[in-house]
């Protein structure tokens, strides 16, 4: 009897301590509400196709932002890199470069921006909020300069299908969703199964301890900045291929949505705490709200209200759950 109670308590504690729990519960609730409100339209194939088609674009960005936040840093420039990377590619493609080279150079540009963000932040010990705020403007400006005022046309013979073709049962996914799923799995493994993931958590969790244990914290942080930038660039490329033209204004404001998604998913602003899957749940929540509000014919201007409310609510709920979990005393 007593043993069973301990077991239940332990399970309860473990689940309440999971930072993504609050977001998951909210997601299920919202889906139920929208499904009922829309008379079953919300979860039909057509609507799901819409949600899942755009999800990877914000989702990939959120994965990178989540990892960087777990590492204890912050990137406001992802929205601009989202536009810059595909613009660089488009210009190179217009000059006749093969897709794969344009892709590699575009990715290298994104990686370079991540490197600069990280290097400046660490070298001059300035908050990454400042460095990447500067980079937000710089990268956006470069996007417009590179485009030369009006965006180049994308050549016809691109492997666009590799990222945008509909696949799966009932053509419910785009290929981009498979890329997204692969990145989520890989990054989750990186964070949970490799020593590098352990170092990221230690670096963000308590920097002096990580340093005292001999972890190369500067390199770990710079690697996270670069990863974050590259994922944002990759996400931008997918959107440009879906839209068919590289607009210099894409991704504006997404940096904050990405942070909101990560935070809703249980990532702590202070670092050390968070999961990739939590970030994904946060991103899905944002897509679901966007889509659900439209379906319910609610004034679209409520979208930002909902995101803002959820961000605050999720953090408060998480703090409350964490406190309750701590209060559950287990026999040692």
């Amino acid at each position: 009897m007593k043993k069973d109670r301990q077991k239940v308590k332990r399970l309860l504690k473990i689940y309440m301590e999971k930072p993504e729990l609050a977001a998951l519960v909210l997601l299920v609730l919202l889906i139920a509400v929208f499904q009922i409100q829309s008379d079953g339209i919300f979860l039909n194939a057509n609507n799901l196709r819409g949600i899942l088609g755009i999800l990877p674009e914000i989702g990939l960005m959120v994965v990178g932002v989540t990892i960087l936040m777990i590492c204890g840093e912050f990137d406001l420039s992802v929205g601009s890199v989202f536009a810059l990377m595909p613009m660089v590619m488009a210009v190179l493609l217009a000059d006749g470069l093969p897709f794969i080279f344009a892709f590699l150079i575009g990715t290298a540009v994104a990686a370079m921006i991540g490197f600069i963000n990280g290097y400046l932040t660490i070298k001059f010990s300035i908050p990454s909020f400042i460095t990447t705020l500067g980079m937000l403007f710089i990268a956006r400006s470069l996007t417009i300069v590179v485009s030369g005022g009006f965006p180049p046309l994308l050549p016809n013979e691109l492997p666009t299908w590799l990222f945008t073709a509909f696949v799966g049962p009932g053509d419910i996914f785009r290929m981009s969703f498979l890329w997204f799923a692969a990145v989520v799995i890989l990054m989750s493994l990186l964070m949970n199964r490799t020593n590098f993931g352990n170092w990221v958590r230690a670096t963000g969790g308590f920097l002096p301890a990580a340093q005292a244990m001999g972890i190369p914290t500067a390199r770990v942080k710079i690697a996270c900045f670069m990863l974050c930038s590259m994922l944002a660039g990759f996400a931008g490329m997918i959107q440009v291929l879906r839209l068919g033209s590289p607009l210099p204004s894409i991704g504006e404001g997404w940096e904050l949505q990405a942070v909101a998604a990560a935070v809703i998913g249980g990532t702590a602003l202070a670092g050390g705490v968070g999961t990739i899957i939590g970030g994904v749940i946060g991103a899905v929540l944002i897509r679901v709200i966007d889509n659900g509000l439209v379906l319910s014919q609610v004034d679209a201007n409520w979208f930002k209200f909902a995101i803002g409310f959820l961000t605050i609510f999720a953090v408060v709920a998480n703090a409350w759950l964490g406190k309750r979990a701590k209060a559950i005393k287990l026999e040692t």
């Binding site: 199964r193 020593n195 230690a202 308590f206 005292a212 001999g214 705490v273």
Partner: protein, 243 residues
């Protein structure tokens, strides 16, 4: 006489203008528990930071078992068998005990260039052993370090140092901000190092603690060693007089 495990020879440290260590020379014998004592600002932490690779010495030499060594990073010190336990800096509160035990030294199943997949089974098994080996009673190695009391955290840090078979364990004011009972536990750990064949350097500004668990007492003041005696050859008054 057996060779010293660590010898510090004429070590100086300047912090842009501040002469924090003014030619310190010390020898630590194998298996000895040495208490390092002195007022705030005496240079204790600076000396320890040099031994643990957190900071370079400005001048001087360090020898391990008679051979000169260069300690340029915490990793170098750890590889030489020198483990340091700080007042706060030893553990990441947001990570589990078992993850904390292996930070920076994770056993890997496959690896390339030092990065790879952790052997989580080995980590789980060894952390249970390490915790038991240090005589700690903890529910599970999966508990977060943030949920442990200050004394338990220091216990885990000590278990980690023991697990990696350190030769020298440095404890920099590990009992600050601990409750009396917890402090006694840490002092018990320092005493038990002897049986494990580990040299202990225990820093404190509480003379009573040092007398309780150390074989030898070294007092520092203003960057210099001002007293170095066997515990039985000195007393609290003599030490207070030189500080």
């Amino acid at each position: 006489m057996s060779t010293s495990i660590i010898s510090v020879r004429n070590v100086h440290k300047w912090y842009s203008g501040v002469h924090a260590l003014k030619g310190v020379s010390l020898d630590f014998a194998p298996n000895e528990a040495v208490g390092l004592i002195g007022d705030n600002g005496a240079g204790k932490s600076t000396l320890i930071n040099i031994l643990s690779g957190a900071q370079p010495a400005s001048e001087g030499e360090i020898m391990l078992e008679g051979k000169p060594v260069k300690i340029n990073s915490p990793r170098d010190a750890m590889d030489l068998g020198i483990e340091t336990i700080y007042q706060y800096n030893s553990m990441v509160p947001t990570m589990s005990i078992s993850r904390n035990l292996f930070i920076g030294r994770e056993p890997l199943k496959y690896s390339m260039f030092g990065l790879g997949v952790m052997d989580r089974k080995k980590m789980a098994e060894e952390s249970v052993q390490a915790i038991a080996g240090a005589g700690l009673h903890l529910r599970s190695p999966d508990a977060l370090v943030g949920e442990l009391s200050g004394g338990q955290r220091q216990g885990v840090a000590i278990a980690r140092a023991m697990h990696f078979k350190s030769k020298v364990m440095i404890l920099d004011e590990p009992t600050n901000h601990l409750a009396v009972k917890e402090t006694q536990k840490v002092i018990g750990f320092v005493r038990s190092l002897k049986e494990l064949g580990i040299t202990g350097i225990f820093i404190s500004h509480n003379i009573h603690h040092v007398f309780e668990c150390c074989d030898r007492i070294v007092a520092m003041a203003r960057g210099e060693v001002v007293l170095d005696k066997r515990t039985e050859d000195t007393n609290m008054k003599e030490i207070l007089d030189v500080l």
